[in-house]
Subunit: 233 residues, 2 copies
DNA sequence: GTCTATAGAATGATAGAC
DNA sequence: GTCTATCATTCTATAGAC
C-alpha cells in the first residue's frame, strides 16, 4: 500500500525462454522483466499503484502471479521498474530531437507535434509521476530521473529559443522562462486530455503554437508567418 | 477497489450530537457527514481512492470505522461525496468572482491570484478528478459536475475577455480560445506543483500573466502596462 | 450516534513441485 | 522459468451492544 525503499533486484539481462513464446509482447520489450515493467506501466498509468493488483498484471500477460516475484522483489519494486521504463521511453524521444540540428522553428514545431503524436507515452510518464509524488516513501533515483526529465525538456527548448534569438530570427525574451511556460502548458494538456474525454488535444496544442509564434515573431498577426507556423503539422 | 454506481445515501441535514464535540472539525463542516466528506477529500487528494482506507479516514477524525457506514453506504459513496464537496468548494470561489462587475483586467488578475492563493482546494479538485477519471465505473452526476466546473471557468474568463474587446480595451482575439488556453495552463501549474516540489508557483502564474497581457494589449513590451498588470498581486 | 467485535473477501508474498 | 497451493495480512462491511 505504501512504497518502500527497495534498490536491489535480481533482474539482469534476462532472455525469454525459447520454449514458450511471449503471449502478449509487441511493445518493444526484449525480455520478461521488461515485459512486466511495460505492462505494469500501462496499468499503473491507467489506474494507479494501489488499485492495480499483482494478479491484474499477471493476468494481462497471461502468466501466473508467482512469476512476477521471480523477476521482482515486490510490487513496489515493479512499480520502480515501471517508472524507470516510462522515463526511459520519454528520454528516447528527447534524444532523437536533440540530435538533429535543425533551425529553431522546426525544433519547436517538432516538439509540439511530439506531444500530440506521443500523447500516450508522455501521459503515462506524467500520470505515474503524479502517482509517485503522492506515495509516502521516496526513491532517490526516481526523484532524480523525474527532475532530470523536466530539466532536459526545458534545456532543449530553452537552447533552441536562445539560438533563434541570437540568429535574429526571434524577438528577444527570456528563453528559460518561455521554455518552462511551454512545458508547463503541455502538462496541462496531458491532464485535461484525461479528465475531459472530449478535450481537443490538437486545438490545445495549436493554441500554444499561436502563442509561441506571436511572442517570438513579435506580433499578434500570426497569419503572415503561417508558412513557418504550419510546418510539420 | 473499483467505483460502483451508488446514488442513495441516508445522509440528510445532519446535526452533530450536542453531547459529543467534534474532535477535529474546523474546515467549515457543519455536520458529521460533511466532516467525513471533507476529511476524505483531503486524504483522497493526497493519495488516492484505493490507497486510502476507511480506517485512515476514521482515524484522522478520531472516530470508529463503523461510524462511516452510518453516514455513507460504502467507501465509493464516500468518494462520491468527497468529489461533490470538492466541486462545491471550487464553485464557491467562482461565484464570488462572478458576482462583482469589475473591469476585465481586474477580473483576470483576480482569477490568477485565486489560483495561487487557493492552490490547495483547486489542486484537490484536479487530483481527485484525475483519480476519478481512471476509475472503472462512472457516476453521471460527477461527470456532469466536473464538466460544468470547467465550462464555468471558461465561461467566466471568456465573458470578461469579450467585454474587454468590446470596450476597445483589449486587442481583438478569440475569447473562448484564450480562456481555454489560460485554464489549461493553470491545470499544468497544478500538476507541476506536485510533481516537482520546488516548482515556483508564483513565477509560473506570473509567466502566464505576461503572456495574457502581451496578447491582449497587443505588444511584447509589457512594462508599459505594468500599472494594470501588477494590480491585485 | 457511536462503539466493539467479527465475518468475509481480496491481496501481497512465499515454499516447493515440475 | 513457470506453475500450484497456501499463509498471513489487510480491508470493507455488517451485526449488535450501549
Amino acid at each position: 500500500m505504501t512504497l518502500g525503499m527497495i534498490d536491489k533486484t535480481h533482474r539482469k539481462e534476462l532472455t525469454p525462454s525459447r520454449g514458450r513464446p511471449l503471449s502478449k509482447a509487441g511493445k518493444g520489450e526484449v525480455n520478461r522483466g521488461e515485459q512486466f515493467a511495460a505492462t505494469a506501466l500501462d496499468l499503473f498509468a491507467e489506474r494507479n499503484f494501489a488499485s492495480v493488483t499483482i494478479k491484474d498484471i499477471a493476468k494481462e500477460i497471461g502468466v501466473n502471479t508467482a512469476l512476477i516475484y521471480y523477476y521482482y522483489k515486490s510490487k513496489e519494486d515493479l512499480f520502480r521498474a515501471a517508472i524507470e521504463f516510462a522515463i526511459h521511453q520519454a528520454f528516447k524521444n528527447f534524444s532523437n530531437l536533440q540530435a538533429r540540428h535543425e533551425n529553431p522553428v522546426d525544433v519547436i514545431n517538432n516538439w509540439l507535434d511530439n506531444h500530440v503524436q506521443l500523447y500516450a507515452p508522455i501521459y503515462k510518464f506524467v500520470k505515474v509521476s503524479l502517482d509517485y509524488s503522492g506515495s509516502e516513501t521516496k526513491i532517490p533515483i526516481i526523484d532524480q530521473q523525474i527532475r532530470q526529465f523536466y530539466d532536459e525538456e526545458k534545456r532543449i527548448l530553452s537552447k533552441c529559443i536562445g539560438r533563434g534569438i541570437q540568429q535574429g530570427q526571434f524577438v528577444a525574451c527570456d528563453p528559460d522562462a518561455l521554455a518552462l511556460f511551454i512545458s508547463t502548458y503541455l502538462d496541462g494538456v496531458m491532464v485535461r486530455g484525461v479528465i475531459l474525454n472530449d478535450f481537443d488535444l490538437n486545438q490545445a496544442v495549436w493554441a500554444l503554437r499561436q502563442q509561441i509564434w506571436a511572442k517570438l515573431f513579435g506580433g499578434n498577426q500570426v497569419g503572415e508567418k503561417s508558412g513557418l507556423m504550419t510546418a510539420n503539422i
